[in-house]
Amino acid sequence: MSAQVEKMIDMIAKFVGHTAKKLPDDVIAKLEELRSKEDSALAKVIYDTMFRNQELAVKLNRPSCQDTGVLQFWVKCGTKFPLIDDLEALLKEAVVKATFETPLRHNSVETFDEYNTGKNVGKGTPTVWWDIVPHSDTCEIYTYMAGGGCTLPGHAMVLMPGEGYEGVAKFVLDRMTTYGLNACPPLLVGVGVATSVETAALLSKKALMRPVGSHNENPRAAAMEKLLEDGINAIGLGPQGMGGKYSVMGVNIENTARHPSAIGVAVNVGCWSHRRGHIIFDKDLNYKITTHSGVQL
């Protein structure tokens, strides 16, 4: 193994470990804002607990939630990035390393054989989604811990065009009252609008990698993000689904063109403990972290 590969494994393992213990800056800021806007005793005590937990996690150097999820990586890798050939194997290695160093819970069960590998890696885990970027020598990586509770509400289907964007809104809101309330609100809701289930589903996960408070560049899609956000807030789920003025940290929509006869739609949610990270490497493995301030790898 080359020294550069080892170095990158080490840095990613450390970064993943860090994301288990500290939430991204934008999530913390949004939780602070929502906390200050709730006035019921119940909502307040839940937010107080959440903030005390995050402080203790850093102080005692432990994962803040016991469910450290399945690791998922979305890479946008330049074709000229020197470690492109090693990347997928290296990410797997980094997850094993982080599992023992952090420590992370063992969350990778081989399907059909139904045993836990005990290392957080298995067939196809960690998940790696590739975007190849031509003429570039940098590598951008989004990291995500997909917990069980927040993965459960995920859903995709294909609507008939007659159901329109009204159908999209109903699809999303129905999911919030049935599954969302048990997924540890306030949630970040990712929505994909495309043609088929898998295109919509992947977009709904990529939507969760966008910063809290960012908007779709299409004005109508951005308007719909706001409508859905206000609508889900109005349901009144509050923190932990126990009631409150705010149910979500935001709604992010990602979209592509569609077949004229189909509207593929999918929803994915991140829980209040939205452990996403974003790191960019240049060809010499100098890095920039955009999600977490003050990290030294």
């Binding site: 839940i46 959440m50 937990n53 016991q66 329109g164 689904g241």
Partner: protein, 208 residues
Amino acid sequence: MVEIKDGKKILTTPISAEDLKDIKIGDIIYLSGSLTTCRDVAHRRVVEEGREIPVDVRNNAILHAGPIIRPLENDKFEMVSVGPTTSMRMEKFEYEFVKATGVRVIVGKGGMKENTSNACKDFGAIHCVIPAGNAVVAAVCVEEIVKAEWRDLGMPETLWNCRVKEFGPLIVSIDAQGRNYFEEKKPEYNANKDKALEEIYKHVKFIK
């Protein structure tokens, strides 16, 4: 025993039916004393196989959870991280479980249904939720792991009998009168949703 300390309502084991009389759904309480983790297979053993539970939970509390434990020397253990798991999985067993064991406080995540609310009413018990995702807060409330039984079930399913101090906050979701917080909230959420959708529909007629 129930007492108010620094504005906190604290239940200390052993707990009597009388102690639960004035506790209502939506109340915030804390628990001190004996708390034992107990989940799927342990419920099955008690209810389906009729086995006697090897930790005495009568007048004490159980927690639906599978913790991360660090073994220390001399058969001692440390609680590293503990968070509630979905209580609904135990719903099927809970009436018989409460009847057989005499447990007074059940702690978990999310709502439960009639089996549990009937048990709470008939035998004098409550179900509470501890806000999930707060594994460190919960773990530091554990003063000592007193004993571990049914270890053959593996770390997550073992009955970890803990001595806890002011474990919480616990939000009462089913009280000893059988009222159910989540079930009472549901119609409200659904009505709010229908109203919100009507408003959204007015602004998303993009297909013309």
